[in-house]
Symmetry: C2
Subunit: 346 residues, 2 copies
């Protein structure tokens, strides 16, 4: 079978690889339909994070269950599923607390290889999300919406949930990448009345408005902070989504939040800011790896199936698996908000 | 009138000072009954924080309203009141959001001079808390409980509220000073089932148990973390109160919290930790200056009046105002958990 691998910084390629096999009773093998490239993949693509040459890549996919381990009862061969990047067991203390991205029974190193024809998925019994019907029952854009539930939509929602967005809030979203844009959707789902998106790109701002942003702040730095303060009568926002992954973005979030607000942050990598403005303003800082399975089962799958949200619009370019290098380049050069990879469509 | 002033690091003294006057329509003058020394006072006492020589000191007191500005309608001369260190107006966006310690209408520099016979209190109409009856209606220990509501009990409660302690929680309290001990009370009020207090002093641990701690961890560093993890079956605590005010304490809080837990921190001064464990464990960080008036009016005054909590037990030594130097020394040398100052008793 064909799978994408990392060769060296700025170079990925498709290679013939051995078929993955069920290794544990809780595994499944999934035939991938669609996959995609994540902003966090750029960390190793650009050589900022270390990755072994020859390793399989990607952590977002939808597909068909090909075979299952003997302990898997929740899905069966032929089922259409979302394969989240998280692999929650569903029964440990962290999963029960709603943080399946921090599952205590995750297998180290199990998170890769979604950009390929077949995938071994661990902890499949609870972590996989079954989609009603088969791929051919869905339109092209619906398939993209479902694919977005494997990471980016759940991660954007986690930013909003971590920021404790509530009905009537004025919410600021920092970051107009695919996660930030899905954060706008998340803030809307949680009831924000006013959503101020910090965006420097016309196409992204436009999609942000479509997703629910009521105001766009296109200036940068202190000017952007001043603009938000003006929009909020000098008070600041009730909640702030930090979807960039830079300490400077958390600092900016602290500047635009009102006293007692919470910053929800989902960017990787992260360090906490050295300033103590969060203390003096009573601002909270929450977030981390999204509990994808939890959110999908709780709410997001239903919102997609009902046609209430269209996160798949973040896929602005599409590539066949064989063009994996181009898919990464489009993300790296910001030519695509997010690159879709067609693996085995329908 | 007599008031304590800061002379130079490690030196405070009582001096004859002019009587304070109502300067604004929202001021009151308060005749102080009891005051006390705060752990945060030690920052300037020890010369770590800068303070002008000759400035009046102290920010916790109970007393009798002596005179009022023309806009003050909520209290009258002769009323017995708690004078919090916060001076919330009660109507700005931050006060309405429940964060009166971040009031947008606070007067800069208004927070001092409580360790003296008379005090000018700004934003008095909303920020002061009226106590039923007169000082002579209360026992000595009840007066101390009421005094604790001017800061330390509200600050401990803020640590617990910021940590989002909820019914049934296993909660860790880092810091066995007066704030940490009041944090134990706060965690109990919010329903924590198991309260693990990190304490290295037998007398403080004993008071902690009396306040509601179910377990004491007396080891330090990695050993203390290992002990908490053992007590929580390897999972970590649901909520963590950081009542020390050191970055290392926030780091330790991150080590003992479970995924998705929240750290409530109230120590001063603070910087955020540079590690990113909070991100990887989905741990939240909240807290700052306590909204004293809000908590006192909402709940804490009633809890004291009903005899449900006895935070005044943190005052383990008492001094007349004239012995102000000894009161600070007892705190500085850790001979007292918290020093009480008798100014004009009854």
């Amino acid at each position: 079978m064909k799978a994408a691998i990392f060769v060296e910084p700025k170079k990925v390629e498709v290679k013939e690889m051995p078929m993955p096999k069920v290794e544990k009773p809780t595994d499944t093998i999934i035939r991938v339909i669609r996959a995609c490239v994540c902003g966090s993949d750029l960390w190793w693509y650009r050589g900022i994070a270390k990755r072994d040459g020859g390793s399989t890549i990607g952590h977002e996919a939808i597909g068909i269950v090909e075979s299952i381990g003997e302990d898997v009862t929740a899905v069966h061969p032929g089922d259409f599923v979302i394969a989240p990047f998280t692999h929650g067991c569903g029964y440990c203390a962290n999963c029960r607390a709603g943080f399946d991205g921090n599952c205590l029974n995750q297998e180290p190193g199990s998170n890769g290889g979604y950009q390929g024809e077949y995938l071994r998925f661990t902890n499949a019994n609870w972590a996989l999300i079954k989609i009603p019907g088969q791929p051919e029952d869905y339109t092209d854009s619906q398939l993209n919406n479902l694919l977005a539930l494997s990471d980016v939509m759940a991660t954007g929602y986690h930013a909003a949930a971590s920021a404790e967005v509530k009905s009537g809030d004025t919410t600021v979203v920092i970051g107009d990448g695919a996660v930030g844009l899905c954060g706008v959707i998340g803030a809307r789902l949680l009831g924000a009345k006013r959503i101020i998106l910090m965006s420097h790109h016309e196409d992204r701002a436009k999609l942000g408005r479509e997703f629910g942003a009521t105001d766009i702040v296109s200036s940068r730095g202190d000017d952007a902070v001043a603009e938000v303060m003006k929009l909020t009568n000098g008070v600041g926002a009730d909640s702030v989504l930090e979807c960039v992954g830079a300490t400077s973005a958390i600092e900016q979030a602290g500047q635009v939040g009102r006293a007692g607000s919470v910053i929800g942050r989902v960017g990787v990598p992260q360090t906490e800011p050295a300033s103590n403005q969060l203390f003096w303003k009573n601002i909270g800082l929450r977030g981390g790896i999204a509990p994808v399975t939890t959110y999908d089962k709780q709410r997001l799958l239903n919102e997609v199936l009902a046609g209430n949200i269209n996160p798949g619009k973040v896929f602005t370019k599409r590539f066949p698996l064989d063009d994996i290098q181009k898919a990464y380049e489009a993300m790296d050069k910001r030519e695509a908000i997010k690159s879709l990879i067609i693996v085995n469509d329908k």
